[in-house]
Each structure stands twice: as structure tokens, then as C-alpha cells.
């Protein structure tokens, strides 16, 4: 455990744990409302923020937070007032965001594509003291929202129309989900990189679903998987000198494959237990009631 002696590894591990918790915690709501790729879209938009940060010599993390929050709100508005083709509008937002990022970073005096690469694919070893502060603050916000409002967010993501009739502020909650997802993207950006962020939001949830029947269990298992793979990936990248972001994502997909393999016998056992618990069904043969009235006998 000598890696714990290095300051940069301590920072990297702290950042990794926070990402492992927050990414699946937000991702589960996106998966529930079938917007699994929203994180990917926000990641693209965040690139413009990183580029602007370099251009204006501001913190790229905070600038990316600002721009991706704006982008996420815009996506949510497109979803509401989807008069034009929603997917086309979103595509323009994604690619505009990516192109803007590349353009701004090349215009910046200190920026180069090498800087951008560390944001695209993650660069744990260069996580600075101020990055860690930003990540801690943002992660606290994400956890507060995803845990504190879990019942409200569950209701809205499960059945939006019903949620509106129970008087929940559905639009505000949808906006909050979008903003929280945007914040999570920037939290995870330094660890797994903008292009791989969405994997950590979606794949742990998909893996957890293989084992769980309830939303609460899915949430807990997904976060556990998230923390395990981010820690495991960070330590592996320290020893093997491989990129941490890619390692983490490949580990997550590995977890999904293993859990899917485990789930099949589990589901069979559950089905058998359920069948045994239920009273025997009607006899398999058809029985026709003796005196079923026919149409002819009914007076019209």
C-alpha cells in the first residue's frame, strides 16, 4: 500500500471515490427515464467549458461546470418545447460543444490539444489541490440532491404525468436532475474524462439491475460497483501505468458481464421459489362451465 504515501495518489483516490459514488447516483435517474446517453451529451458540451477556461485563464473545472449546466438546462428546455426534431437539436448541441472546445483551446495562449486530452480521457495524476476542493464541493451537492430528493426524483422519473397530478414541481425537479447530471460530469471529468463519463453513470446501474428487484437495492449496488471500479482502476493504473479512465470503464463493463452471468441462475431460483410459494394454479385442463348461455338465449 505504498501508493498511499504519495500526495497525488491520495488526491486521486479521493477524487475516484467521489466519482464512484456520484456518477451512478445520478445515472440511475437518467436510466430510469431512459435518457442514458444524456451524460454523454453533457460531456461533449462541457468541452466548450474547458476550452473557455483555458482561453480566459479561469479554472477549467468551474468553467466546465458552468457551461455544462447551461447545456443541460438547454437540453431540458428542448425536451419541453420539442417543436422541432428534438434529436436533431440535441445533436447540434453535442457537436457544437465539442467543436467549441477544440476551437477555444487552440485560441488560448497556454492551451494545446495535449491539455484537452487530459480532460477528454482523464488524468488522475495531475489532479491538483484546487481540483480536489472543487470535486468535493460539487460531489456534496450531487449527493445531497440524489439522496435527499430520492423519493421525488423517483416519482418523476417513473411516471411524469402521475407525478404532476400529485402536485410535485415536475419541471423544477427535471431541471434539477439535468443540473445535477451536468455537475456530475464535471466531477468525473478529471478522473475518467469527458468522453467516458457517461459509462460510469450508466454501466454500474445496468450491472446492478442484474441482481436487484427494487430501486433502492439498484441504487446501493450501483454505487458499490462505482466505488469498487474507480478505486480498483486507480490503483491498477498506478502499478501498471495504464490510463485510469479506460481502466475504470473496462472494469465496469467487466463487472456488468460477470453479474449478468451470475444473475441467470439467481433468476431461475427466484422463479422456482415464487412458483413454490404460490398456491397451485387452476388445473391445466380446460373446464367449460356446464350452462354457459349462448347468444341465442339472450333476449335483445
Amino acid at each position: 500500500m505504498e501508493f498511499l504515501n504519495y500526495d497525488f495518489m491520495q488526491r486521486a483516490l479521493l477524487a475516484a471515490v467521489l466519482v464512484g459514488i456520484t456518477a451512478p447516483a445520478v445515472g440511475i435517474y437518467l436510466v430510469q427515464r431512459r435518457q442514458a446517453l444524456m451524460g454523454d451529451g453533457i460531456g461533449h458540451v462541457a468541452m466548450t467549458g474547458v476550452g473557455l477556461g483555458f482561453l480566459l485563464s479561469w479554472s477549467p473545472v468551474w468553467m466546465a461546470t458552468l457551461v455544462s449546466v447551461l447545456g443541460a438546462v438547454l437540453m431540458e428546455l428542448i425536451r419541453w418545447y420539442g417543436k422541432t426534431r428534438g434529436d436533431i437539436a440535441l445533436a447540434m448541441l453535442f457537436y457544437g460543444g465539442m467543436a467549441g472546445g477544440v476551437m477555444f483551446i487552440n485560441l488560448a495562449p497556454t492551451g494545446s490539444n495535449a491539455n484537452l486530452t487530459s480532460y477528454l480521457f482523464g488524468s488522475l495524476s495531475t489532479v491538483s489541490e484546487s481540483d480536489v476542493t472543487a470535486i468535493c464541493v460539487l460531489a456534496a451537492f450531487v449527493m445531497l440532491v440524489t439522496l435527499g430528493l430520492r423519493r421525488q426524483l423517483f416519482a418523476v422519473s417513473q411516471d411524469e404525468e402521475f407525478a404532476r397530478v400529485t402536485g410535485l414541481p415536475v419541471r423544477a425537479l427535471n431541471l434539477l436532475t439535468a443540473i445535477t447530471a451536468a455537475v456530475t460530469v464535471t466531477v468525473a471529468m478529471r478522473v475518467v474524462g469527458l468522453l467516458l463519463v457517461s459509462a460510469l453513470m450508466v454501466v454500474p446501474v445496468a450491472a446492478a439491475q442484474q441482481l436487484s428487484r427494487s430501486f433502492a437495492a439498484t441504487f446501493a449496488i450501483a454505487v458499490a460497483i462505482g466505488v469498487a471500479v474507480t478505486l480498483g482502476g486507480t490503483v491498477t493504473s498506478y502499478y501498471q501505468d495504464v490510463p485510469p479512465g479506460a481502466t475504470i470503464v473496462l472494469l465496469t463493463i467487466g463487472a456488468f458481464v460477470v453479474l449478468t452471468g451470475l444473475a441467470a441462475p439467481l433468476a431461475r431460483r427466484r422463479a422456482r421459489a415464487a412458483a413454490a410459494a404460490r398456491p397451485p394454479a387452476d388445473p391445466a385442463e380446460c373446464t367449460i362451465p356446464a350452462s354457459r348461455p349462448t347468444g341465442d338465449q339472450i333476449g335483445v
Binding site: R33, R151, F154, A155, F162, R164, Q209, R213, S214, P293
Partner: protein
């Protein structure tokens, strides 16, 4: 029969450019059970969805418990059962979790107390799904799923129940459970507005039927008697409704 719980006056609504409601008047008084009948495309679902604010109304007035709907905030008094859809969330959820979301309107900031848990349990008992509380809703049959949606609406102890086609695609056993659940709610003084395709097993409960046709009220009075094939016990009214305007209203009132 004094205080109107639902009141629609001259309500018009369009979906796109097509007028769906063309001046509807409808009043449901406290304790009444009213069925909204009509062929597909007659506007009965749209009428219900305009009451709960899911369809914008171009002209006319809607009041809930005497308050204009725009200013109505007391949604815990309304239990809504949407038309059952096959679309479920992308994440598994248990029966208990889904029914609990119906109780949110009675909680402060979504914090569940003991009384809230009891209300959820009561609602599950009412529809006979208490033993399935821990099961995933994805593993339920259509009828069981419908019972869960009704329990979700009942979890808030509503005074007014609004149900959109609660019997559609529901097996016979679940239909009986639903009918007895509804009977119990009515006995306790609930007001009910139901969208129905046909009266079916709920017929004895219904005080009044409102029949819509092409967005207008065609009949408002005692429930029409079923005739012909439709009077057969256990008749399951399933037709392919290709062209709604070709579909006559099978109420027997027109003959």
C-alpha cells in the same frame, strides 16, 4: 348532491389543430360515481386529462373542489389512475416503491412517517397486493399492474378518484378485486369519475353516465343498459377500432 367536486363549463380543447372537446359541460357532485363513456376518439380521455391539467384548455372553465383548476394546489385530495401503459421505467422498482410515490403528496419534503407507511400498506391491502409488496412491478401481470396503479392513487387517501380505463386489459380476477375496491371507496364517501369503454362489472356502482361523441356530451343521466352481445355475462368488449368515426356508440340509447 350539493357541492360540486368537478365542474366543467363550456370546455374546448384541441390536440394539434383538431378540436377534441367542443364545449363540454360536466358536473360531478360529492359522493357521486360518474362514468364517462364513448367510442374511441370521442374525447373522453382528453376530458379527464384536461381536468387534471395534462391537456391545455382553449376556452371554458374547470373547477376542482370549487377552486379554478389553475389555482388548485391541494392535489393530495385527488387520486389519479392513468391509462395503463406498457412502458415502465428503465430501472426495476418494487410494488411498494411505486405505491409509496402516491403518498408523496401527503408528506412534507418526501419524508415518510409511520402513518405514511401504514397508508401505503392499507392501499396495498385494499387491492390485495400486500403479499407482493417486495416484488418487482416488471414481474406482474396486466391486471396486477393495474391494481398497483390504483393502490398508488389510494395511498394518499384521496376524496376524488379519477380513473382512465381502469378495466382495459385486466383479467377477470383483477376486475373483481377492482370492483370491490371501488365499492369500498364509494361506501366511505369517495367521489369517482371513471373513463370506461363499457360499464362491465362496475355497472351496479355507477350513479350516472355521461356519454361523449365527437367532443360533445350526448347523454347525461342514468347509465344506459347494455344490449345484444354486450349484455352477455363476461362479455369482453374488445374491438379493433380502426376508424373511430365509423364506430357507433354502443349504449342502446340511440335505438
Amino acid at each position: 348532491m350539493s357541492e360540486p367536486v368537478i365542474s366543467l363549463r363550456g370546455v374546448r380543447a384541441e390536440l394539434g389543430s383538431r378540436p377534441v372537446l367542443r364545449g363540454i359541460d360536466l358536473t360531478v357532485s360529492r359522493g357521486e360515481v360518474v362514468a364517462l363513456l364513448g367510442a374511441n376518439g370521442s374525447g373522453k380521455s382528453t376530458a379527464v386529462r384536461s381536468i387534471i391539467g395534462q391537456v391545455p384548455v382553449s376556452t371554458g372553465e374547470i373547477e376542482l373542489f370549487g377552486t379554478p383548476r389553475r389555482r388548485f394546489r391541494d392535489w393530495a385530495r385527488v387520486g389519479y389512475v392513468p391509462q395503463r401503459t406498457t412502458a415502465a421505467g428503465g430501472v426495476p422498482a418494487t410494488v411498494d416503491e411505486v405505491v409509496s410515490s402516491g403518498r408523496l403528496s401527503r408528506t412534507r419534503f418526501g419524508v415518510f412517517r409511520k402513518s405514511d407507511r401504514e397508508a401505503v400498506r392499507r392501499a396495498l391491502d385494499l387491492v390485495g397486493m400486500a403479499d407482493r409488496a417486495g416484488d418487482s412491478v416488471g414481474a406482474l401481470s396486466g391486471g396486477q399492474h393495474q391494481r398497483v396503479l390504483i393502490a398508488r392513487a389510494l395511498a394518499a387517501d384521496p376524496e376524488l378518484l379519477i380513473m382512465d380505463e381502469p378495466m382495459a386489459g385486466v383479467d377477470l380476477a383483477s376486475q373483481e378485486v377492482l370492483a370491490s375496491t371501488l365499492r369500498e371507496q364509494v361506501a366511505q364517501g369517495a367521489t369517482v369519475l371513471l373513463v370506461l369503454h363499457e360499464l362491465g362489472p362496475l355497472e351496479p356502482l355507477i350513479d350516472r353516465a355521461v356519454v361523449l361523441r365527437d367532443g360533445c356530451v350526448l347523454h347525461d343521466g342514468p347509465p344506459p343498459k347494455a344490449v345484444g352481445q354486450h349484455a352477455l355475462p363476461g362479455h369482453d368488449h374488445v374491438h379493433p377500432h380502426a376508424a373511430h368515426d365509423a364506430e357507433p356508440i354502443r349504449t342502446g340509447l340511440l335505438s
